[in-house]
C-alpha cells in the first residue's frame, strides 16, 4: 500500500471525475418525462411510491407491471425497515491517534514524533485516560449526546496484518479467506427480496464486498442522480423501446460469465426504474435540511438521506470514507485531513436524519481493517497493527463503550494493541438486535462470540 500524502491528489481527481459524469448527464433529453423530484419536497412515502408506479406505467405504457414494480412497491409500502450503513476507513486507521492516551508515558515514549498533546483534543468522558483526535470533535459532540458507541480496541484473535486479508475478514464477517459473500450480503440472502436491488446498496463506483450476496440482487451506484441511460440519436417512442430492451438483454444465459454480464444488465435495468425520479436532478434534488461539507463522501451521505426520505427500500448500505489511512509516513497531516472530512460528514448526516425524522431507523458502523503498530516507525508514520477503533453511531445506539481500552503497556508479540471486542460479536449483536435476524445463519460460529447490548 502507498504511504500517505496523496489524499489531496486523490480527492481532486475524484472531484474531476464527478464533474465529468455531471457533464455527461447535462443537457441530456429527459428519459422519463414528467417525473417530479421527490426527495425532501414534502412528499410522503406512499405518494412517492404511487408516483413511481405512475412512472413505470408511463414509460412502459403497456398497462402491465413487471415483477420489479410490485417488488419495489411492496418493499417500499411495507413497514419502514431498519437501515445499517457501513463506513469503511481504508488502509488501517491508527487507533492510538483516533483516541489517544495523551498523558501515558509509554505512549509518549513509543511515539516521540507522533504523540498528540492532551490539550489538543477533548477528553473521552468514558475513559479519561483517552482524548479524541482534534479533528474528531464532531463525533465527540455526538458522543456527548449519547449517540456514539466507541469500540476502542476491536479486532479478532490471531490478527492478520495484511490489508487485504484483514479487510476481507471484516467484509465477510469471519476469519475465513475463502468466503466469497459479504456479511451484509448473506443477511440479505436470508431476509431480502429477489426483486429489490436497492436493499443492499454500495455508494461507490463498484460493489463493496461486504454487500456481495449470493442469491438476491444488490446495487452499486455513485450517486442516485447519475443513473440514466442515454444513447446518441435516440428519442421518443424508440428510446422507450430501447430502454425496455435492456431488460431482455439481461435475460438468463447458459454461459456463466455471459450470464454474469446479463445479470448485471438486468439489475441495472431494475435500478434504473427505481431511481428514475432522481435521474432528473443533478444533486440539487436532495432537499437536504442541513449543510454538508464539500466532497464526494458528504455528497453520497446527503444522497443517501434523500433516498431514505423518499421511501426507497434500503436496508444495508456500504460506503468508503475519504482519506488515506495507511500512514506508513507523514502520518499527522494525512490522518487529520481524512478524519476531518469523515467526522464532519457523519455529523451532518446524523443531523440530516434527525431533521427528516429518520434518525430512529438508521445506525452507522464506522470501521477500518486494523489499527497500527504502537511504536512509530521512524518515517513519521506507523506500520500495520492489530486492534483498531470502530464507532456505532445513531440515535438508537446505546452510546456506551464496547470493550475497554487495553492500554499500551501490554501489547501483543508484534507490538500491537490487543483486541477487547470482536467484530464478529458486534456483527452478531447487530443482526439480532437491529435486524431481528438469527446471527447463526449469517456469521459462521456466531454462538462463540460474546454479545453486547448495542441499542438504547
Amino acid at each position: 500500500m502507498p504511504d500517505s500524502c496523496h489524499h489531496c491528489n486523490e480527492f481532486s481527481r475524484a472531484s474531476f471525475v464527478r464533474r465529468g459524469a455531471a457533464e455527461a448527464g447535462r443537457g441530456l433529453p429527459a428519459i422519463e418525462a414528467g417525473m417530479p423530484l421527490p426527495a425532501g419536497t414534502g412528499l410522503d412515502r406512499r405518494t412517492f411510491v404511487t408516483r413511481t408506479f405512475g412512472l413505470a406505467l408511463s414509460v412502459y405504457g403497456l398497462g402491465k407491471l413487471g415483477l420489479f414494480d410490485e417488488g419495489i412497491a411492496r418493499a417500499a409500502s411495507g413497514p419502514a425497515q431498519p437501515v445499517l450503513v457501513s463506513v469503511f476507513l481504508p488502509g488501517g486507521t491508527d487507533s492510538l491517534s483516533v483516541l489517544y492516551p495523551g498523558n501515558d508515558s509509554t505512549y509518549r515514549r513509543l511515539r516521540p514524533s507522533l504523540k498528540l498533546d492532551p490539550a489538543a483534543g477533548q477528553v473521552f468522558t468514558e475513559d479519561t485516560r483517552l482524548y479524541w483526535h482534534p479533528k474528531l470533535a464532531p463525533l465527540a459532540t455526538l458522543h456527548g449526546e449519547g449517540k456514539v458507541s466507541v469500540m476502542p480496541a476491536v479486532g479478532y484473535t490471531h490478527p492478520d496484518q495484511s490489508h487485504f486479508t484483514s479487510r476481507h475478514f471484516w467484509e465477510v464477517g469471519a476469519t475465513d479467506a475463502r468466503l466469497v459473500s459479504g456479511w451484509m450480503g448473506r443477511y440479505l440472502d436470508h431476509a431480502g427480496a429477489m426483486d429489490n436491488p436497492l436493499q443492499g446498496l454500495s455508494l461507490d463506483s463498484q460493489l463493496q464486498p461486504s454487500i456481495a450476496s449470493t442469491k438476491v440482487p444488490v446495487a452499486a451506484l455513485w450517486a442516485p442522480e447519475d443513473y440514466s441511460f442515454y444513447a446518441p440519436g435516440v428519442w421518443g417512442q424508440v428510446e422507450n423501446r430501447m430502454l425496455e430492451t435492456i431488460g431482455s438483454l439481461g435475460a438468463r444465459r447458459r454461459d456463466p460469465f455471459l450470464n454474469q454480464a446479463a445479470a448485471a444488465t438486468a439489475q441495472s435495468d431494475r435500478l434504473r426504474r427505481q431511481l428514475a425520479p432522481f435521474a432528473q436532478g443533478n444533486g440539487n434534488g436532495y432537499g437536504s435540511p442541513v449543510t454538508y461539507p464539500d466532497g464526494d463522501f458528504p455528497h453520497q451521505l446527503a444522497g443517501l438521506a434523500a433516498m431514505l426520505a423518499a421511501g426507497l427500500p434500503l436496508r444495508c448500505v456500504a460506503v468508503s470514507a475519504p482519506g488515506e489511512y495507511d500512514t506508513h509516513s507523514d502520518q499527522p497531516n494525512a490522518l487529520a485531513d481524512g478524519l476531518d472530512t469523515t467526522a464532519q460528514s457523519l455529523f451532518a448526516f446524523q443531523r440530516d436524519l434527525e431533521a427528516r425524522g429518520l434518525a430512529g431507523r438508521v445506525l452507522t458502523l464506522v470501521w477500518s481493517e486494523f489499527g497500527r503498530r504502537a511504536e512509530e516507525n521512524g518515517s513519521n508514520g506507523t506500520d500495520h497493527g492489530a486492534a483498531g477503533t470502530a464507532f456505532l453511531i445513531g440515535t438508537r445506539a446505546r452510546g456506551q463503550m464496547i470493550g475497554e481500552f487495553p492500554g499500551v503497556t501490554r501489547l501483543d508479540d508484534d507490538g500491537n494493541l490487543v483486541a477487547t471486542s470482536d467484530f464478529r460479536g458486534i456483527y452478531s449483536s447487530l443482526l439480532e438486535q437491529w435486524f431481528n435476524q438469527d446471527a447463526g445463519a449469517v456469521i459462521p460460529g456466531a454462538g462463540s462470540f460474546a454479545r453486547t447490548q448495542l441499542l438504547k
Binding site: 459524469a21 460493489l207 444513447a231 446518441p232 421518443g236 430501447m242 438483454l249 509516513s329
Partner: protein
C-alpha cells in the same frame, strides 16, 4: 507431461476469442486473417510480433492538440490507451497491462513521468524473464515511492515492500510460505534505496546508498546470510511456492476458471524448466483447450474500450475515456490498491452504467440524423448495419433475437408517415448502443 493443446476447429470465433484474451480484440478482418494461420501459427504470431508499429489515426485531445502525457491530466492514460488501440503487438501490450496489475503501482504517490517509465519497463519485459522483471521492479522509482522503498532504512525499517513482495508478487498470503518474522527480515534486506527531491520534478536521482543499507545477517525462509535487495528477489523467485503462485495468477489473466491440476503442474514445470521465463507459459495457456471450449470471460474496461475503438478503426480523440474508464472501475496508472484490480467484480449496477456510457461515446461520431438518413425498415438489414459498424463481432442467438424483437416492436410504433421515415435511423442508432453494451460484447 505437457499441458494439453486445443485440437478443435480454429475458425473466426476462436481467433476472435484469442484476440480478445491475448490483446484488445480484432480490427475489422483481423480475426479472419488470424484464423487462416491455424492455432499454432496464430499463437506464434502473437508471441513473436517483431517491432512495434502503430497503425491508425494519431491520438489527440478534444481540441485536436497532440497528447502531453507527462504534463496534462489524464493524457498519460490516453497515451497508453492509444498504444492498445494502434499496436501491432497486442499481446505485448496486454502483458504490459498484466504486469501493471500484478505489480500494481499508483500514480497517486509519484507522477506521470515515473509511471510511464515503469510502463516501458513492463513493455520491455512483457514476455521475458520474471526474475529480471522482479529485480527491475524492485528498484523502479515509481515502485520505490509507492511501497515506501526509499523510506526503508537501516535505522527505521519499513515493511511495506517486503510484505507485498511476498504476499502479492511472488508467493501469496495464507499459504504457509512465510512468517511475520520473514516480513521483518525482508524489510531489512531491502534497505538502502534513496532519492532526492527537486521542487520542479519531484522525486529524482533514485539510487542505492550503502550507508542506508542494513548489512547484518538476516534469516529469511530459514536461510541465513548478509542478504540485500537482489537476494530478497532471488529468494522469493526460488521459493518452493513461487511457481504455483506464478502459474495460478498468470492463468487467471487469460482463463476465468482455475487450471486443471495436471495442467497446473505441467505449467509449473515448464516455467522452472525455462528458468522463470514468461513466454513459454503464456504460449501454453493461449493454446490450452480451456481458452476455446471453456466459458467466456468478462472484459476489463481497458480491453472493452480499446476493443470498441479498434473494431471501429477510431483513434483517440477525446479525454472522455479517462473519466469513463474510472467510472467503469479502471483508471490506468491508478489501480485501487497494491493488489491491483479484482477481475471477479467488473460488472455491477454502477460499472454496467459506465460501460453503457463508454459504448455511447464510442458510437457517437457515427450517429445518424433521422431527418436525412435513408434506411430500410428491415430488421435483418438494420442489425447487420450495426454489427458492421462495430467490426462484425460474433453475436449469440439470444442477443440477436432480443435485438430483432426490439426492431419489430419499434417499427410497429411507426403509425404516421414522419415516423415511418425517421424511425429506421433512430432504431439503427439504438441498435448500435444496445449491441455495444450487450452481454456479448462485455465478454469474450
Amino acid at each position: 507431461m505437457a499441458a494439453p493443446v486445443y485440437r478443435g476447429h480454429f475458425g473466426k470465433p476462436q481467433a476472435e476469442r484469442l484476440l480478445w484474451r491475448a490483446g484488445f480484440g480484432p480490427r475489422p478482418g483481423e480475426a479472419e486473417r488470424l484464423a487462416r494461420l491455424g492455432l499454432h501459427g496464430a499463437v506464434h504470431k502473437l508471441t513473436n510480433p517483431g517491432r512495434e508499429r502503430l497503425r491508425g489515426p494519431k491520438p489527440h485531445d478534444d481540441d485536436g492538440h497532440p497528447l502531453a502525457p507527462f504534463d496534462a491530466w489524464g493524457h498519460d492514460q490516453l497515451w497508453w490507451l492509444d498504444r492498445m488501440v494502434r499496436t501491432s503487438r497486442p499481446l505485448v501490450e496486454r502483458m504490459t497491462l498484466v504486469w501493471h496489475d500484478w505489480f500494481a503501482t499508483s500514480e497517486d504517490v509519484s507522477n506521470a513521468r515515473l509511471m510511464i517509465r515503469q510502463n516501458q519497463l513492463f513493455r520491455k519485459h512483457a514476455l521475458g524473464s520474471f526474475s529480471t522483471l522482479l529485480q527491475d521492479v524492485t528498484k523502479d522509482p515509481a515502485m520505490l515511492l509507492w511501497l515506501s522503498g526509499t523510506d526503508n532504512t537501516k535505522d527505521s525499517p519499513n515493511e511495506n515492500y517486503g510484505r507485498e513482495l511476498m504476499e502479492l508478487f511472488t508467493i501469496g498470503a495464507d499459504r504457509g510460505g512465510y512468517t511475520e518474522r520473514d516480513v521483518r527480515e525482508q524489510a531489512r534486506a531491502l534497505t538502502g534505496w534513496r532519492n532526492d527531491w527537486n521542487d520542479n520534478l519531484g522525486a529524482v536521482n533514485f539510487r542505492f546508498d550503502k550507508r542506508r543499507h542494513d548489512p547484518g545477517v538476516k534469516k529469511i525462509f530459514g536461510k541465513r546470510g548478509h542478504f540485500d535487495w537482489k537476494d530478497s528477489c532471488r529468494l522469493c523467485v526460488h521459493h518452493r511456492l513461487h511457481p504455483s503462485f506464478f502459474v495460478t495468477k498468470m492463468w487467471s489473466y487469460f482463463i476465468p476458471t482455475p487450471p486443471p491440476k495436471g495442467t497446473q503442474l505441467a505449467l509449473q514445470r515448464l516455467y522452472v524448466h525455462h528458468g522463470y521465463d514468461v513466454k513459454p507459459v503464456v504460449a501454453a495457456i493461449l493454446k490450452h483447450p480451456a481458452l476455446y471450449t471453456g466459458p467466456r470471460m468478462v472484459k476489463n474496461p481497458a480491453v472493452y474500450t480499446a476493443g470498441l475503438l479498434r473494431g471501429m478503426r477510431r483513434g483517440i480523440d477525446t479525454l472522455a475515456w479517462t473519466w469513463l474508464m474510472q467510472l467503469a472501475g479502471m483508471s490506468l496508472f491508478y489501480p485501487p490498491n497494491v493488489a491491483g484490480w479484482d477481475d471477479t467484480r467488473w460488472l455491477d449496477t454502477a460499472t454496467y452504467h459506465a460501460r453503457w456510457e463508454i459504448a455511447s461515446r464510442a458510437i457517437r461520431p457515427h450517429v445518424l440524423d433521422s431527418d436525412k438518413a435513408k434506411l430500410p425498415a428491415n430488421a435483418t438489414k438494420l442489425i447487420r448495419n450495426a454489427e458492421h459498424l462495430l467490426g462484425s463481432p460474433t453475436v449469440t442467438a439470444q442477443t440477436h433475437a432480443a435485438l430483432k424483437h426490439f426492431v419489430k416492436v419499434a417499427l410497429a410504433d411507426a403509425d404516421q408517415h414522419w415516423k415511418r421515415t425517421s424511425y429506421p435511423a433512430l432504431i439503427e442508432n439504438a441498435l448500435r448502443q444496445l449491441l455495444a453494451a450487450s452481454p456479448d460484447l462485455l465478454t469474450s
